[in-house]
Homo-oligomer: 694 residues x 2
């Protein structure tokens, strides 16, 4: 193992160490009154029930794919798959476990120390998840890579490349289950418990007598926290892995393939250090701006990343041409990394504009609520569609400039740098569900209204940061499109030299592939939305049953069976996520063989390649519009609740609640799950090539 | 002029003759009581006010472009542009004028003769519009083509090709104004008059005291009828024109370029005859199924088209290879035409499934309304997204099979055959706004409830047929994508032989073009939705002003100033449509020059080409989802009003009204305007090539 690899692994371990130390500090904080702890305990109990069922099911699928992979592609791919799957699951598990403990402590901190203390507690718990996600992802790749090269494989060999693809596949597979299952769970619980509790039983939101209310709070943790953590773990692994695979393919003959494969890992390593440093700068300033505090941390991280990447260059490729005729220099790759930072900054600023309560879009949705449910929805949909334009232009600018500077590898380095900030970005995101839960606990435990006001202020910012993460994750997929596609074409050239594949837009197979790929995100999005409807229905029935069979629940004399409700919802979510998850898994395979049948092998390869781009093109728009639109609806409601347009209880508020509910499956189920869906479609295509070549 | 051209022109004249005869029969029918005629007169007055303003504005834009075109590209292009623009406007003008007269006569027919008579009146008025659209479109191309060749131009010359592109551009430009302006008008009126009338003043829907209520009815005519007619005229001209241009480019050296250019015109001619025949089969059967009656007409048309195309083959290219080494025969082109019919049938059936009250999707939206506004919207959005999948698969199957049979020209023939049915399809569509108006008149004139029931039954079918037309128009754009793109690439090869343009998906310029093209329909859709919101606001203020300044209106003693309200809304709609209309007009130009600056000429050509496909790929999904989703919401409301889930006035009905309102700008403003938007982007790119080459 080289010194460089040791440095990378040390950075990964630093992230884990940060997670343990900060996690311990969070857990040892005051957890509040017995009542608060009782509620938090119920949420935690529910979370465990969910994990048990989800991991049991996912394990079965995982074992089947492990065995298939083992026999079709060898142990290296299968073990890579297992590592990716297990660590992706672990990232979600840890994320959820931290946040179910941090929620009540945030309530208590807000109650005793106000905004400053609440912010600090919620953010630190998010940072634990963030650092563990980034650390585990970096360690997984670095250690498996050194293991494979340590036992004699060349860094640029197919064995190593395929093993890294296997690793990415494992991460993606768990991630789509976690995102979709978690998303269906959380929004099914949200919609379902509201319907029976508020409408049928006439009890307020967040009332502990409602057997579904704990599931609702569990949902925040399993969807927004565990699902998000698994998703970002996957995005990190796929991006860094694909950039390494690309380097191994493009530079195999260069003599410095090892250095060029390690460079992305080094960027990941130094960014962990800058992210850790950044977390210490998240503090409320004189202007009491929560977003300002979070931004300070992010900006410090970004600024510190600049010397960090310089160090990465020093340690590996230097600043000149890494090899004769490379067509790029160390300086130009450094510039690509800076562009990656700029794209991240661009997406953050744009997403804040579209989902923050201070700007036109959210305010226009709030204003439109004055004239009813329909105008709220119309304006929200318009905002959601409009919000796709600027991020896409930023992505295109990033794509063209990095390609110009460093070719495909330059694009890969930019995306790697984006994802290298994942520790900090996830920290900002995981902050959201914690504050959401904290508000629920404050309400249920009958704390002073000022506590709820504090947590609501944090929660409103959380809605924006959640949207930011989703925009960032999907944006990286858009920018990484060319990297993934290039990996596909290079693989094709490697395995099937003799098949004349035509990727020109004037081929009908290419157009067909673009269209069929394009329909996947729409169909997938529709399935997710409908699944939420059905899962919500299952909750309605379970809650009705409990009310019917135990009259003591409504009287407040007996405790509802929270765990059973959570378990039912888990079952329903797991069942509902199967078909949508199969869509990206099977579509590339089915489409390939159909076109193979009608047009032959070369046509099938072009059509499949175009499908990969088609799914990215429409997926980018579907995901961006859903995530930003949902965030805008949510915050428009918050803006009204802050006393605008009539405030809480007004007609405008009723309309805004409708918009918020519509935005729920948009931003928390279908939208974010599009990101792993795109990756799975791409990775399945890559594995299909490897299998066909065997 | 050849015999074939004379035959084509005779077919076009037959359509015009049918329009005049049937139109006369419609107009001479009983127009009902004085009260009904008074209401209808107000609608007609409003329609004239709209036309006056719209054509004044459009004329200014048209003259400017005419002059620019004249100096940059010569008189042939400029005159073509003028013909396309004037006839597209005429198609809309006639369509609206027929339907503002047929509405009250349909009410009267339904009142005196029941369903059978109402259906017959509404359908015949639609058929007038349909035949005039198809006839004018065919005549425009055929006559201008014979004129150009008559004065000595070769059929396959650039002059003729560019003149046809100019003709298509004129049609598209008016069409986007008509679709967008009409869409903003109709939905602004709908939303605005409901808001003041129902919510503020507390008067029922369709109450003649509401100054906005006539604008609402005018809107049905200017949006759904005039806008749709201009749109279909444009789609027809662009499709047939592009196929002819493609033939002129591909077969210039073949010796039979004339025959291959006339073949699409012949298909257009024979289909007019089969469409006219089909209209006589639209009669209510024993089962009283309205949809069944309309389908009978459509099926007869489709069946008669088969021998018609055989005749077209006989008259031009025969059944063998049209020239040595053509790679296709007359029989295979015949098969392509049949596939065009099959694609049309597929889209009709799928759209009916997604928007008809008899099937799962609409019923699921109705069922979801039981649990509130939000669940109605969630389910509606899910249905709208899901509804894109099957049409796209049908389009892909059509694309691959016709390309296999007849190459690019085969694809063009299939799309031409689809559009050749426009006479019949427009008849089915124009039927919708007439029945919608008829219902409003029945309500306002206090006719027996049974009359409204009859018109409502017709209107529910109208919602489906309207969605069918939109799906058909946008579907043809999807299938025609390759034809338009091929025209672009062939033009490129013709004008810029020396520029090495790369359309491979692995070029970053191609990926950028796909993404930037992809964002246009989203941004355009968002603009349309927001414009409806603002136009609605303008109506609210005008109606409030009239109520305030003339107390006699509410008392029923003085007549509100309908025309002023219509005029205001027209102004607002015209103003609002400018920026969205500039989007497809300017984007290709700006994008081309930006890429030219950063990547050079070859990169700019690839990026622009990819942009054309990008706008088609996402545009197809955006338009299909908006049109079907809107139709599903509308009919879910109708289904509930028919007595399901609690019927009129129930909570489910309230939720369904919300869904219907959201669906309005979806299906009647943004969704359908995407179709001309795609075309304009493509045609501007073609003209840009011609200008750059000059």
């Amino acid at each position: 193992m080289t010194l460089v690899l040791l440095f990378v692994i040390a950075c990964g371990l630093a992230a884990i160490a940060y997670g343990f130390v900060t996690g311990k500090a969070v857990v040892s904080a005051d957890a509040g009154s017995a009542r608060m702890q009782e509620i938090a305990g119920a949420i935690q109990e529910g979370a465990n029930a969910y994990l048990k069922r989800q991991y049991t099911t996912v394990a079965v699928v995982g074992v089947v794919i492990f065995v298939i992979g083992f026999f079709l592609l060898g142990w290296e791919v299968a073990v890579g798959f297992a590592i990716g799957a297990i660590l992706s699951g672990a990232a979600g598990f840890i994320g959820m476990n931290v946040s179910v403990r941090a929620n009540v402590r945030t309530t208590q901190a807000a109650a005793t120390g106000g905004l400053e203390a609440g912010l600090s507690m919620a953010f630190r718990s998010g940072a634990v998840t963030g650092m563990l996600v980034a650390g585990l992802a970096l360690l997984a790749i670095a250690i498996y890579f050194s293991l494979l090269t340590g036992i004699g494989n060349e860094a640029g060999s197919r064995t190593v490349a395929n093993a890294l693809i296997g690793l990415a596949f494992g991460a993606s597979l768990i991630s789509i289950f976690a995102r979709l299952g978690g998303g269906i769970f959380t929004k099914g619980a949200d919609v379902g418990s509201d319907l029976v509790g508020k409408i049928e039983a006439g009890i307020p939101e967040d009332d502990p007598r409602n057997p579904g209310v704990i599931a609702d709070n569990v949902g925040d943790n399993v969807g927004d926290c565990a699902g998000m953590a698994a998703d970002l773990f996957e995005t990190y692994v796929v991006t860094v892995g694909a950039t390494m695979v690309l380097a191994s393919i493009l530079f195999n003959a260069s003599g410095v393939v090892n250095e060029l494969m390690l460079y992305p890992l080094l960027i990941g390593g130094v960014c962990i250090l800058s992210s850790i440093a950044g977390t210490y700068f998240v503090k409320l300033g004189a202007n009491k701006s929560i977003m300002g505090a979070l931004y300070r941390g992010l900006i410090v991280t970004a600024v510190l990343t600049i010397p960090g990447v310089l160090i990465a260059n020093l340690l590996s490729i230097g600043f000149g041409e890494p090899f004769a005729g490379a067509g790029f220099t160390g300086w130009s790759l450094f510039a690509c990394a800076l562009i990656g930072l700029a794209v991240t900054a661009g997406i953050v600023v744009i997403t804040e504009y579209y989902t923050g309560t201070d700007y036109r879009p959210v305010r226009s949705v709030a204003k439109a609520s004055e004239t009813g449910h329909a105008t709220n929805i119309i304006q929200g949909l318009a905002v959601s569609m409009e919000s796709t334009a600027l991020p896409v232009l930023v992505i295109v600018a990033g794509l063209l400039s990095t390609f110009g500077l460093g070719g495909l590898y330059g694009v890969g380095i930019a995306v790697t740098t984006m994802l290298a900030l994942a520790g900090m970005i996830v920290a900002l995101d995981a902050f959201g569900p914690v504050t959401d839960n904290a508000g629920g606990i404050a309400e249920m435990a009958d704390l002073d209204a000022s506590v709820r006001e504090t947590t609501d202020a944090l929660d409103a910012v959380g809605n924006t940061t959640k949207a930011v993460t989703k925009g960032y994750a999907i944006g990286s997929a858009g920018l990484g499109a060319l990297v993934l596609f290039a990996t596909y074409t290079e693989d094709l050239a490697f395995y099937f030299k003799d098949v004349p594949v035509n990727f020109s837009l004037s081929s009908p197979y290419v157009v067909s592939g673009l269209l069929v790929g394009g329909l996947l995100p729409f169909l997938f999005g529709a399935m997710g939305m409908m699944a939420v409807g059905r899962a919500g229905g299952a909750v309605v029935e379970e809650v009705r049953r409990q009310f019917r069979e135990d009259k003591g629940i409504m009287a407040g004399t007996s405790k509802p069976d929270y765990a059973r409700c959570v378990d039912m919802l888990t079952k329903s979510a797991i069942k509902e996520m199967v078909v949508p998850s199969l869509l990206p898994l099977l579509s590339p395979i089915v489409f390939f063989f159909v076109i193979d049948l009608v047009g032959g092998r070369a046509a099938a390869f072009s059509a499949l390649g175009a499908m990969l781009l088609g799914v990215i093109v429409t997926g980018l728009f579907v995901a961006l519009s859903m995530c930003s639109g949902g965030g805008a609806w949510d915050n428009a409601k918050k803006y009204i609740e802050d006393g605008h347009h009539g405030g809480k209880g007004s007609d405008a508020h009723m309309a805004a609640v409708t918009g918020d509910t519509v935005g729920d499956p948009y931003k928390d189920t279908s939208g974010p799950a599009v990101n792993p869906m795109i990756k799975i479609t791409n990775i399945v295509a890559l594995l299909l090539l490897a299998i066909l070549a065997h």
